[in-house]
């Protein structure tokens, strides 16, 4: 065991203890807390793609949607069949559903990743954006999952423990992957692809790995979201959701896991706090983001120089 692995176990234990008393917490705050956990998972996994590997993806909500629908269909339509096979253990069913959601999203990540990795920068952003829209439109047109009306009656399996347990695992995986001789290759790809190839780094493989792992956790987070809201609709996984996650990454500082976690929490809480202003909410939210970006273009929580100049 290494220090980082002890840290992961300690975090999981702490989450377990805190969640054990979740019955006594204010349900409104509990809701926001779970949202924070899910958003941390989304932002940290996108940070592996956009931040560390430098591949600007705008399709994260698409991966999230694939995961959300896969997991939700599994528990709602096949839950009764699967539950006896899993010894009647609801938590096991939920874990399987999340994993399936993650795997489906990872497959989607591979499908969109392989052809689009020939593209760079803005072009990649546009292709991933298009991918996200395709997912949304396809979901809208499948009547079996409710079409535009969405999918209802999803069991509320998500708890504080699940949401933060997944977030802790996502943070550990991204951290451990990047912090090794192998993992420095992700940053090398982001810095200079030609030089990375010249140093013997298989840039394609790194990019696909980043997309696979990022999409996997986005899918898991999607499954978590579905069993938290208990209702999902295609509109929830559109372009604006992707942008929301991208903003968390940029605001936290590209390739700065700690900063991205803080930014995900901050933006989630901010979005809730602004509800008191009613119709002005989204205007204020956008204004605040503009001000923050002007004041700290390198990311709110990046204290050294920006990771990449220009």
């Amino acid at each position: 065991m290494t220090r980082s692995q002890y840290a992961l176990l300690a975090a999981l234990a702490l989450i377990g203890v805190v969640s054990a008393f979740s019955g006594q917490y204010n349900p409104y705050f509990l809701d926001i807390a779970v949202s924070c956990g899910i958003n941390v998972t989304l932002a940290v996994s996108l940070n592996l793609i956009n931040g560390y590997t430098g591949q600007f993806s705008l399709g994260h909500a698409g991966f999230m949607g694939v995961g959300a629908y896969s997991a939700a269909v599994l528990t709602t339509s096949f839950g009764m069949v699967l539950l006896p096979l899993l010894g009647g253990q609801v938590w096991l069913l939920f874990a399987v559903a999340l994993l399936v959601g993650g795997l489906m999203a990872a497959i989607a990540g591979l499908i969109v990743g392989v052809p689009s990795l020939r593209l760079k920068g803005d072009y990649l952003a546009i292709v991933t954006l298009g991918f996200g829209e395709i997912i949304r439109v396809v979901l809208q047109n499948i009547d079996a999952v409710g079409g535009p009306r969405g999918l209802i009656g999803i069991p509320g399996y998500t708890s504080l423990f699940w949401a933060y347990g997944l977030a802790a695992i996502a943070v550990y995986v991204v951290w451990a992957m990047v912090n090794s001789s192998y993992g420095r290759g992700f940053i090398a790809v982001a810095d200079d692809e030609i030089a990375a190839e010249a140093m013997g780094i298989n840039t394609t493989r790194y990019k696909i790995t980043a997309f696979l792992v990022g999409a996997f956790f986005a899918g898991m987070a999607g499954g978590m979201y579905a069993h938290f809201k208990q209702y999902i609709a295609p509109q929830g996984f559109g372009f604006d959701r992707s942008i929301e996650i991208v903003v968390m990454v940029i605001l936290g500082g590209m390739g700065n896991t700690g900063g991205v976690i803080l930014a995900a929490v901050l933006l989630t809480v901010l979005g809730e706090w602004l509800r008191q202003f009613g119709d002005l909410r989204m205007i204020l939210y956008s204004l605040l983001i503009i001000v923050l970006m002007i004041l700290r273009p390198q990311g709110l929580f990046t204290w050294s120089l920006p990771r990449r100049a220009g």
Binding site: T2, S4, Q5, V173, A176, M177, N179, S180, S181, Y182, G183, R184, G185, I187, A188, A190, D191, D192, I194, A195, A196, E197, A198, M199, G200, I201, N202, T203, T209, V213, G255, L305, R307, R308, A309
Partner: protein, 261 residues
């Protein structure tokens, strides 16, 4: 034995011929210079060798193996490392990590190992760290190990690029204008460094350089190209006296004047 062979290589971009039917070879353990006036196609030759471009015609062979169809990272893994004319370090990585990442191709482990972090993984990581520090020590960069690459002085950035290339453990090292932008003192130092590298690491070096003094000082063999085609080849002294070389660099008149004198 020739370590690297260019066999009638051509590289065309539409109507422009960057490399024109070039044949040349680099002997093992030699220090060969590739020179030519501005725009002669020197860097294009490097890009052909390293797989950044594919030859329109002809073939490149390294240690008897054809490099056709191989991607740049595969060619590097075969044992060809390079530096760049316009420095291409990993700017946001530390000096240490710049070199560490270049050890990558020799790693046994990958993503899954970095997640499990078993003792074998940690042993390998510390072995790599030791090697990186050793290399940085040789080139006097050890005390800068934790600095970001972008914060280094120009001379140190050039030096770091060479260290990073050596970390891939090449048989052939391609240096693209290593003396560019250096003052005379730095150039003398660089000349010494290149010779030292060749002997210490027992490798073959192919060097593109503008500065004639550097080339004439250290190269055993020189290939001169102009407009993509080879115009002369041989030991530095012979090449320097070749009228075609003088013409390429200084023009027709100077060449006839030199021939007349």
């Amino acid at each position: 034995m020739a370590l690297l062979e260019l066999d009638a290589c051509s590289l065309r971009f539409g109507g422009l011929t960057a490399v024109d039917n070039l044949s040349a070879s680099v002997e093992e353990h030699s220090l060969t210079g590739l020179i030519g006036p501005n725009g002669a196609g020197k860097t294009s030759v490097f890009n052909l060798i390293t797989g950044v471009y594919r030859p329109t015609a002809g073939a490149v062979r390294f240690a008897g193996q054809s490099l056709a169809g191989r991607r740049p990272f595969q060619i590097t893994r075969l044992g060809i490392a390079r530096t760049f004319q316009n420095i291409r370090l990993f700017q946001s990585l530390s000096v240490f990590d710049n070199v560490r990442v270049a050890f990558h191709q020799h790693l046994q482990h990958h993503s899954v190992h970095s997640l499990a972090r078993l003792p074998s993984f940690r042993a390998e990581e510390s072995r790599i760290s030791a090697r990186v520090l050793e290399l940085l020590e040789i080139f006097g960069l050890a005390k800068l190990a934790d600095e970001r690459a972008r914060s280094l002085s120009y001379g140190n950035q050039r030096r770091l690029e060479i260290v990073r290339a050596l970390a891939t453990q090449p048989k052939l090292l391609l240096l693209d204008e290593p003396a560019a932008g250096m003052n005379p003192t730095e150039k003398v130092e660089l000349t010494r460094l290149i010779r030292d590298i060749q002997q210490r690491f027992r490798i073959t070096i192919l060097l593109v350089e503008h500065d004639m003094r550097v080339v004439m000082n250290i190269c055993e063999q020189v290939v001169v190209i102009d407009r993509g085609a080879k115009i002369a080849e041989g030991p530095p002294a012979a090449v320097r006296a070749d009228p075609k070389v003088i013409e390429a660099y200084l023009g027709q008149e100077a060449a006839s004047a030199a021939a007349g004198a």
